[in-house]
Every structure is written in C-alpha cells, then in structure tokens.
Subunit: 433 residues, 2 copies
C-alpha cells in the first residue's frame, strides 16, 4: 500500500499486513522514507499501539534491515541476557562467563551507558586493553572456541532500529511498549541466539517506574520474542536502590570479580544466580532451576567462571592480570566518605539520584559524545536495611576533582529513618509462556 | 520549553502555554523546526486534540507567521465567507458582489480546486483577462473603492499553515478538527476581516461525510473564531448532490450571472441569499435576516450586484462584456447529453461521482500541478426530485475530446427510482454563539 495509507491504518489501529510492514521498515532502513513520515508513524504507534502480530513483523523486519549473525553451525542452544537498564547493574559481566563455563554459549552484544544508567561496554573497557569492537568473524570464532564473546553493536546491526530510535528520542515517542519491544528484540535477534532472558527493571532507577508498566513491557517482550522464534523468559526485578555495592565502571568490574569468586554482595550475587540459572535451563544445560543453581555454584567454587573470564579478557586484547591484582584497574586519586548524620536504619538509597551523582562525577554520560572516566564512582558501604551509627561512613566517593557537589547529592539521596520496609527478594516475578 | 517536552505535552493532552505554542509555530514558519518533529506533533494533535484555548493560540500564531492585511482604515465591518468545499459550489462569485453592493466590504481571498471540488480562483480565471494575483496594496485599494476584491493567497500568508498543511497531506493527519479549524481561520484572519460566515458542507461530495462530524467542525470554527476575535456564524449545508446546475469553471460563471440576475437555480440562489443575509447582519447593514434578504433582493432586481461584479472584473483586468454576452466565456467545442434509461423520479445525483467525472473531463485537477480546461464540465438539466421520461436528457456534457468515459460515469452517478426523499432546504442548521 501507499505510505500515507499505511500510516492511516496505523493511526486508526487497523490490522496491518506483514508485507506492508516489511516494505515500510525496509524504506526506513534504506533512507527512502522521509523522516517526517517515520515520526508520524511513531506517534500513531504511541497512541494506538501495535498488535503482537504486527510487533513480531516489525521486529523481524528491523532485524532483517541489517546484518544477522549466523551461529547455526554451533550445535548448542545460544542464550543471551538483556536488561532494560539500571544503576549499578553489572550483572552481565559475571553472568556471561559463569553461564558459558556451564556449557551454554553466550554471544553477547551490549550497549553503552547514557544518563544515570551505565553500560556493559564502558565497564569492560575499564579493563586495560579490552576491545569491544571485534569483527563479526572473530565474534563467531570466540563464541565457538570459548562459548563467550562480549562486543558492541556495529552500525550494520538493525539500522532501521537505529534510525527509528534516534527519531523517537526527539519526538517524545520513546515510551511505547511495542516500539521498545521491537527495538530490544530486533537487536538481540541479530546475534543469532536461540533463547533470551530479559531483566525488566522496575522502580526509581529504571526506565519503567511502576510495576504495572514494567509487567506490560515484560509480557510484550515474552509474547513477541516467542512469536519471533525465541525461547524467552522475563524477570521483573527491583531497581529502587542501586544493584550491588558499586556504581562506576572500574568499581563495577571489581564487584563483578567478587561475584565470580563467590564473595559478592547479596543482591547482585542473587540476581546473577537467578538469571544464570534460567539461562542454563533455556540452554538445556540443566533440567530445572535447582540443578542449574548447583552448576553455577560449582562454576564459582571451582573458579571455572573466573578462569573463563580471564580467557575472554585475553582473547579480546585485555590485561587478565587485573583478576589477580585489581589495583591494576583504573583507580581514582581521591576517596571521600559520606557519613550518617543521625543513627538509625538506612531506609532508602535512591537509585536515580545516586546514578545521576555518579554520572556527574564522570562515571556516566550526559550526552552520547561525553567521555567517561573509568576510575570514578560510588562505593556503597552499607545497603538499605542496615543499622547505622551517627557519623558511620555510608558511601565512599571515588573522585578525581573536588567532590563537594557529589557529597551533597549523595547525602540527599540516602534516607535514614527508624525502619526499613524493603523487598525480601530482588526478583519480583518471572514471566514466561 | 524544549521542543520534545512541548510534543510530549501535546501527546499527553496537557494544557499548553500560549507562549510555547507561539514559539513552536514560529519555529515551523522560520524553518528552524525539523519536519520530523512537526509531524510527530501533528499525529499527537490528531489523537489527543487541542483545547479551544490552544487552538485559538495556534490559529493566531499561524496568522502571525505571515503577512496580515490591515483594513482598519476602512470604517466598516469587513465580512467574508468561507466554504469547506463542494461540487458546483460557485456561491462566492454571486455572493461577494451582492453583499458588497449592499454596503458591506468583502475582502475575499480564495483558493484553487483540487480533486472533485472546484476553486473560486479557477472559476474567476475563466473570465478572459481576470487577474487573481493582485498586490496587497491594490487589494486594499479595491476593497476601499469598490467594497470588493477577489484574489488568491500569496506565499506570504500564514506560511506556518502552508508548511503544516503540506505535511498533513503526507502523514494522514488532514482529518483533525483542531488542525482544520486553525488552518481555515489563520488564513481568513490574515485578510483583515471582522466577521466571517462559514459554509460547512455535509455529505457525499463534502470533506465531512456525516452531519455529526460536520457539526463538530462547525462548532469548533465558531468557538475558535470567536476566541480569535471574529464575529462568526457557521451554516451546515447539504452536499450530497451538486449545488446548482453546473460543474466546471466557465459554466459556473454562467450560473453565477444567472443568480446575480435573479434567474438562477433554486438551491444555489437560496444558499447565496441565506449566506448573504447573514453577512449583511454581521456587517451591520441589516438588523435582521428578513431585512437583509430584502436588501439582497433589491441588489438583484436593481442590477446593482451585477453592475458591481462588472466593475470588479474590469478593475481586476477582466473582460466585463462577458456579462452581456456570456458566449465570450470559454466554450467547449462539443456537447453530449446523457439521457434517462427509464422513466421515474431522479432520486440521487452523486456529488462526489459527478465531481470526479467533471475533474477527469479537465474541469478539475488530479494533482496541484494539473492545468484546468475552463470550458468543459457538466450541466445538470434536471435536479434531484425531477420526474423524467425515458430518454429525457439529464446532463449535458461540455467536452473537448471523446466523452464516452464521462458519459458512463455520469450514468453511474445518477439514480432514477420511484420516489425522492431529499432535503426540503439546502441549509441544515445555523451555528453561532
């Protein structure tokens, strides 16, 4: 059909034909379609939504607008994890080697941080020498040899999504469940995976602030991912407080190593194990979650996960000796502690506020062009629920210049009161078909 | 506010600040705003609408994006009429001189035809020599001297509307009441008028196919026009059948002259009188509609309307002798009659179908670039409700080349049955505040 007629159908919430969706997305990728028609389409989708069938067709058309990696020669179930983004979320880094060490290949293509949320690529690059820009051939090789490779997307992956995402950002159409779904899944499907575990964050530091909308997104991701041929589970997890005890790139690598050693904080360790167990089950390396957890524990205790991480660091040009000597990681010249001004129970540590504070310190980006300082960040010396004395250190700021503004901002984002009513578990719910 | 934040407010149906609307529309006119943000805004307005306050602010900002004619030195109430477009709608042509002859200045800026609907400018240009492209200064002069001038809009009038209209056309956002309202009124307000009579057409040949949506548009035009400082009345009128007995440019000039002489068809004469009477009342040239009709009748019977039309034709470079000798108007080389295939009552003459048939004959434009043939068109020899014999001529086709396709099309669009249940009156309702 004509482009205007296609936009009108979307505008009126009518059923769309797969071939019309393919043609439209193809024209976006090729640059044939004027941006002004693409954005009218985006705002129409924002208001009317898309059916699951149409979202599947859109996702597949977006995937097929670019390079799709073929890993079918690897005779195993390839599984990846994707998180919708949070503060202190370094889970991919310990997770991928642990899962791969248990025999499930993890072809992982990650992103960079923007705003208050960090990015796996930035964290990996704080390891001296680590290269995230490998060729597709080398990526396939490492997935085959080691069962793991950790890279960033090239411009050739899902160009239709890249184009639409840039337009969504400037037309107030980011916040649409079918558009988010198609964007996430089109990129993940380009990796050549068979199964996917999604970590949909909920709360102050997450894209989805409330559980209802996070659940809607998770359900959409599961339905559409399944429709696109993936085995998918979505985990709804808490993101009111930062995950683990570090925010900032090299600091989060240190915490990742702790998790790999079985010495990590309770919440980030638990989430690594929960998501990892699901990946093992989807990857047919365990028949149920309990068995999967035992295998992951073995990979921690035996040091197999850590050893595999050392191998992948070396294979990707990095200095694996940081594993034995984390002081070789970038280190901030100064540290300053933020202390409790009263005794009591730490009842809230605001993920958004602390993420913003770390970003302003240089650990994150305000705009996509900003350069990150890998050394700086925040180290949480206590977690919500902790009982603290007056003047007890709460957060250690790792900084390069004056930390006064950050100090004030950290203070503002920590609440001490007389009780903590936090969640028992980091995982709220698991959604599957 | 930032552009993205403004689009988000529109997207969410929030109250908008006048200064934000002014800035946004100003950026559209200046070309600062990328088209892709303008179209996201248009689709957001399509779905969420705009409040009357916001539509008033948008209308005024669109008016102020271009030249606004100042007629304040003419110490009378200046009144114009605007129709939403129909088939056979030549009302402006007899109406303007009749109203002006009664002492109400009519500064009329009209448009061209597109698709099945004709345009006043095209019809006027079928008078040999008639110029519709006068300067603004000459326009003001003629309104002052004669009380009437009939021109087209320059590119300097409401450029923000021009830009948005072109974008609406290619993004399925034409059909939005606040956007239609702002588009119509911004251009009319640029004429320097004080009052406006709107003819909102309803039916097969109209933009609004059903009475409910036409009524909504009429009410919006009245509320927003009033909010923008105009005295406004809107007439809802029938457009299931062509208006009057002619479709085609020179043919419609002939019918206009008949109306000015008091010899026109019942429906087009009645609509001229109804709209004209309202214009006289709004223009303070009559205290009520009955008095206004008497004055208009006088202008017909005395020949004052026709004489003023002769003056304006001469003043605009045209050959006024066509009034005495209409055979000087462009005349098609051939005529062919379409006859009844059965006896009965003419129950339907489809405005859309007959308008399309006339367009294909050359009387109208398929695209804006097409050149019109002023001579060709359709002459209705009967009107709906007429009792006809078999083989009685129904329509005379005025054509240049073979008329076979038009002949078939005219046939298809006329229904003869056993009864006619047409409307009693051309006017459905009058809407004012």
């Amino acid at each position: 059909v004509q482009v205007v007629e296609f936009i009108r159908s979307v505008r009126d919430g009518e059923a769309l034909r797969t071939e019309d969706i393919q043609e439209f997305i193809g024209q976006i990728a090729s640059g044939e379609l004027p941006d002004y028609q693409a954005t009218a389409y985006l705002m129409a989708v924002y208001h009317r939504g898309l059916s699951d069938e149409a979202t599947v067709a859109t996702t597949l058309a977006m995937r097929d607008s670019g390079e799709v990696i073929d890993l079918s020669h690897i005779d195993k179930v390839k599984v990846d994890k994707h998180s919708t983004g949070g503060v202190g979320d370094k889970i991919s880094i310990p997770l991928a080697p642990l899962v791969a060490a248990c025999g499930v290949p993890v072809p992982m293509i990650s992103g960079r941080g923007l705003g208050h949320t960090g990015g796996t690529l930035d964290k990996l690059e704080s390891i001296p020498g680590f290269q995230v820009g490998l060729s597709q051939a080398r990526f396939c090789e490492l997935v085959e040899e080691l069962g793991i490779c950790l890279i960033g997307a090239t411009e050739k992956v899902a160009p239709a999504d890249r184009k639409l995402y840039a337009l969504r950002d400037v037309t107030a159409t980011v916040d649409s469940i079918p558009l988010i779904t198609a964007s996430i899944l089109s990129k993940k499907l380009s990796e050549g995976i068979d199964a996917l575990v999604l970590d949909v964050k909920v709360g102050r530091g997450a894209f989805m602030k409330d559980e209802a909308s996070a659940r809607k997104l998770a359900e959409s991701l599961v339905r559409v991912g399944t429709g696109a041929g993936l085995d998918v589970k979505a985990y709804l997890t808490h993101m009111n407080h930062p995950l683990g005890t570090t925010i900032g790139n090299a600091l989060e690598i240190r915490e990742s190593l702790e998790i790999l050693r079985g010495e990590g904080p309770a919440d980030s360790t638990e989430l690594t194990m929960a998501l990892g167990a699901e990946m093992l089950v989807l990857g047919k390396a365990a028949s149920n979650l309990d068995e999967a957890r035992l295998k992951l524990n073995d990979a921690v205790c035996s040091g197999a996960g850590l050893a595999l991480f050392a191998q992948v660091i070396e294979a990707q040009g990095g200095d694996a000796s940081v594993l034995d000597d984390p002081s070789k990681l970038p280190t901030a010249p100064q540290t300053t502690e933020v202390c409790a001004t009263r005794p009591g129970i730490v009842s809230h540590m605001d993920a958004l506020g602390l993420g913003m504070a770390a970003m302003k310190l240089g650990a994150g980006r305000v705009t996509a062009e900003d350069v990150i300082d890998p050394a700086v960040g925040l180290e949480l010396l206590v977690k919500p629920g902790a009982k603290v004395e007056e003047n007890q250190p709460l957060v250690r700021i790792h900084h390069r210049e004056d930390s006064a503004i950050c100090h004030a901002s950290v203070h503002e984002n920590i609440t001490i009161s007389d009780a903590y009513e936090g969640p028992e578990s980091i995982v709220i719910d698991v959604i599957g078909i």
